[in-house]
């Protein structure tokens, strides 16, 4: 028990004090080198790793957001383009149809006019021919009348005959 009391008859255990101090300091230095150092190193490393991972995740998320926004923008643009194309096509179709209708109308008009012109010229030709025939007949009749010098009755009869003849010939 004596050693357990301070200032006992045996005195203070100077050796114990020295040994405890040395042992503790050596233990602390050894642990710092072989245990705490590496352990704290890896804890620090993990902390850095986590920080980096979080940062990387944040960056990639931002990038993904950016990509998404770009995609949406592109989609909108494509839709706009498609609508414009459809509208254009519609307009073009309409215009083409209209022009076709107009052209056909003009064509029909032209055809009709030419037909009318044909009819008129045919008629004129016919009239001219008729006229010519009538003239030559008249000349023929006249010459026959003159050549025969007949009595009034036979003359009358002759005229009637010729006329009939002419009429039949006609």
């Amino acid at each position: 028990m004596q050693s357990l009391m301070l200032g006992a008859a045996t005195g203070v255990n100077g050796g114990d004090i020295l040994f405890q101090l040395l042992a503790f300091i050596i233990l602390m230095l050894l642990l710092r080198k072989y245990a705490w150092g590496p352990l704290m190193g890896i804890m620090k490393e993990r902390q850095n790793f986590i920080t980096n991972e979080i940062e990387a995740a944040e960056t990639s998320r931002k990038e993904a957001d950016k990509h998404l926004a770009a995609q949406i923008e592109e989609l909108k643009q494509a839709r706009e383009e498609a609508r414009a194309i459809i509208e254009n096509a519609k307009k073009q179709g309409e215009a083409q149809g209209e022009s076709i209708i107009k052209a056909s109308r003009v064509e029909a008009e032209r055809v009709k006019e030419s037909a009318l012109a044909d009819i008129a010229s045919e008629r004129e030709k016919a009239v001219a021919t008729l006229r010519k025939e009538v003239a030559s007949l008249s000349v023929m009749i006249a010459s026959k009348v003159i050549a025969k010098e007949l009595d009034e009755r036979s003359q009358e009869k002759l005229i009637q005959d010729y006329l009939q003849e002419a009429g039949e010939a006609r």
Partner: protein, 236 residues
């Protein structure tokens, strides 16, 4: 339970060889635990590494609760070693005590005031050393006259009181625990009936001693950090 200590004189110094043995055993155990736990370090900790990282975080928590990390970070190694060394020391005396030739050889080294006071003095001396180193001699000295000059004697007494309470608290708790364990075991010498009756309080007291040992290790480390913070912190 009246055992003598195996005291031998060597080079004019008195060595309690029991203490020397137990200090060595404690140091070896702490070293083995720490080194074995940190042999296979990995980013994904498992098993012992996890436990040791928890201890590191625990001590970090103690330091952070007393001072800011910028000044306190350097005491992490000290705190870790103190905590584990004192805890292991406290536990050593629990399972058995070995007496040889009426000399007590196996016990907690912390059940000796010489040992605990050595640790306490070491801590207090360190606190003064860091106080001068980090704040400068002038501001360190000025601390003794705050809040006014009349406090100087009180502050001086406080330093010694701190040292004594820090060391003797640990010693008292562990020594008392071992004495009571010895008494309960000693019941067996009084007769078989008393021995059987004594087993139950013995188990309870051993469990409690584990608790006390852990608490005392924590308190010693905590107070170490408080005293260090008291000396090195700019405001408190």
């Amino acid at each position: 339970m009246e055992h003598e200590a195996p005291i031998h004189t060597f080079m004019g110094l008195q060595f309690n060889l029991s203490n020397v043995l137990m200090i060595t055993v404690s140091c070896v155990i702490v070293f083995l635990i720490a080194v074995l736990a940190t042999r296979a370090l990995s980013m994904k900790p498992g098993g012992m590494q996890n436990f040791l990282e928890w201890v590191v975080d625990f001590v970090k928590g103690i330091i952070n609760s007393t001072m800011d990390w910028h000044t306190g970070g350097r005491f992490l190694t000290l705190g870790l070693t103190l905590l584990m060394y004192i805890f292991v020391s406290n536990m050593l005396g629990l399972p058995f005590a070995v007496a040889f030739d009426h000399e007590l050889w196996w016990k907690s080294p912390t059940a000796d005031p010489t040992i605990t006071l050595t640790l306490a003095v070491m801590v207090v001396v360190l606190s003064h050393y860091y106080g001068v180193k980090l704040k400068g001699a002038k501001r360190y000295g000025a601390e003794y006259f705050k809040p006014f000059k009349l406090f100087f004697p009180l502050k001086l007494i406080e330093e010694f009181a701190n040292t004594l309470t820090l060391g003797l608290r640990l010693y008292g708790n562990i020594y008392a625990g071992e004495i009571l364990l010895g008494l309960l075991v000693g019941l067996a010498h009084k007769g078989i009936f008393a021995g059987i009756l004594g087993i139950f309080p013995l188990i309870v007291w051993q469990g409690f001693s584990v608790f006390v040992g852990a608490i005392q290790a924590f308190i010693f480390t905590m107070l170490t950090m408080v005293y260090l913070a008291h000396k090195v912190a700019d405001d408190h």
